[in-house]
Symmetry: C2
Subunit: 251 residues, 2 copies
């Protein structure tokens, strides 16, 4: 039986991304990582640190997709409101996690500092922990929602700890080839090839390099032999247009 | 009278961003650019090249925000479906733009190639053009929706041509200061400062540099004197925590 696709939404929570102050790199890492596990990112939203916006987005995404991954807003300061919002979205109380509290309390601190840190020990009732291999406080999972830190090194560590623990579907593989020709020169042939292989997604991406226009053709799908067939057809179309296909290492 | 905030949503359309093949940089550029014009990006969505997903997202965003900017999917190949979807979202037909057609026809080409290129001359009925200073086919505007190319150089050129032509609100300014201390060491003070200045958004962002943990404090708001007041209070809190505030060039 064919495995069904497993889908995910990524919710990037943080004013610093929306304002342009910080260039997000988490989306790209999450997409590549969970993609390799057989989970397809189908939508991403970047939203501000605003309670009602976060709650609405969480509740929409967790029902529309198999999994929801959030990044950002789980630190110890006043602007870290993600945990509260996730509890709000699920209509549950916050509880203190003894495991996170133990990690936090390993490092001594004055009472006001400890109080701030202990904010990170709060999780929604019913949540389980996501390991944090960097040694800091854990993230958490509640139902199909995974709540992770926004700092890329910490997010990556948390995500890595989930490998092998999630439901997965077929892995989307890709083939790519480039050629120094304009998209229009090959558009008609690509259209025909796409129609003949509806199960493979054929994307055409123009670029400008070495003072020349070129096009990257990217094929994505779960059927390796269909990918190979399409790749040969695309290469033939490039040759027919008078150019030389250049292979790209396969993904 | 206080100017009202003018808000925007950015819709990044493209399987290549969702798959992780391409790292998006358009969001960051759009946020910084229109931010400097007095338009605040309040939400971003990254969505696939799927007709019903695009139409739904466009119709949601154009009613919730003052402006919607889209990137991607307006080229000459079969996977460029943004223009069709925008027309679908507005319930209007596609028409051929004589101005875009003229630009396309400047460069001669065989009939099949020209036919593909002319796909880019189609715009929704009622749309007006967005200049393309790179010399290629234009983007278009329909009501409060701005449809631009996905290639960063082309998107940037199109966006630059809109400067001074849009409604704008107060510009959000920022002040930043960093210190080599953990967020928890200053969390209580930050919370008090934020409560005392609800009109300024105070964000705390941890970092790890030169083998030390540090925190960036970023203040954002439209009132310069309130920003300066908060900046002094944040600096005083850093000193009170036993560290030295380091100024960051102001934005």
């Amino acid at each position: 039986m064919k495995k069904r696709a497993v889908t995910a939404c990524v919710l990037i929570i943080g004013n610093e991304i929306l304002s342009g102050r910080t260039q997000d790199t988490n989306l790209n890492h999450i997409a590549l990582t969970i993609g390799s596990w057989g989970i397809q990112v189908r939508e991403v939203r970047v939203i501000p640190d605003v309670e009602e916006v976060i709650i609405t987005a969480v509740n929409e995404a967790r029902t529309r997709f198999d999994y929801l991954f959030t990044t950002g807003g789980i630190g110890p300061t006043h602007d870290d409101i993600t945990t509260d919002c996730i509890a709000g979205a699920f209509g549950v109380d916050l509880v203190e996690s003894p495991e996170i509290a133990a990690i936090i309390q390993q490092r001594p601190a004055p009472p006001t500092v400890m109080k701030a840190r202990m904010r990170m020990a709060r999780i929604p009732a019913g949540a389980t922990l996501i390991d944090n291999p960097t040694g800091g406080p854990q993230g958490f999972r509640i139902e199909n929602v995974f709540v992770m830190a926004g700092i890329p090194t910490v997010m990556r560590a948390m995500l890595s700890s989930l490998e092998g623990k999630l439901e997965s579907g077929p892995v989307v593989r890709s083939r790519s080839v480039t050629a120094y020709l304009g998209e229009s020169q090959i558009a008609a042939a690509l259209s025909t090839i796409q129609l003949n292989h509806p199960e493979i997604d054929l994307g055409s991406y123009p670029f400008f390099k070495n003072d020349r226009y070129g096009t990257s053709l990217v094929m994505r799908g779960t059927d390796e032999s269909a990918l190979e067939t399409m790749l040969e057809e695309v290469k033939a179309a490039i040759v027919a247009a008078g150019e030389t296909p250049e292979d790209v290492p396969q993904g």
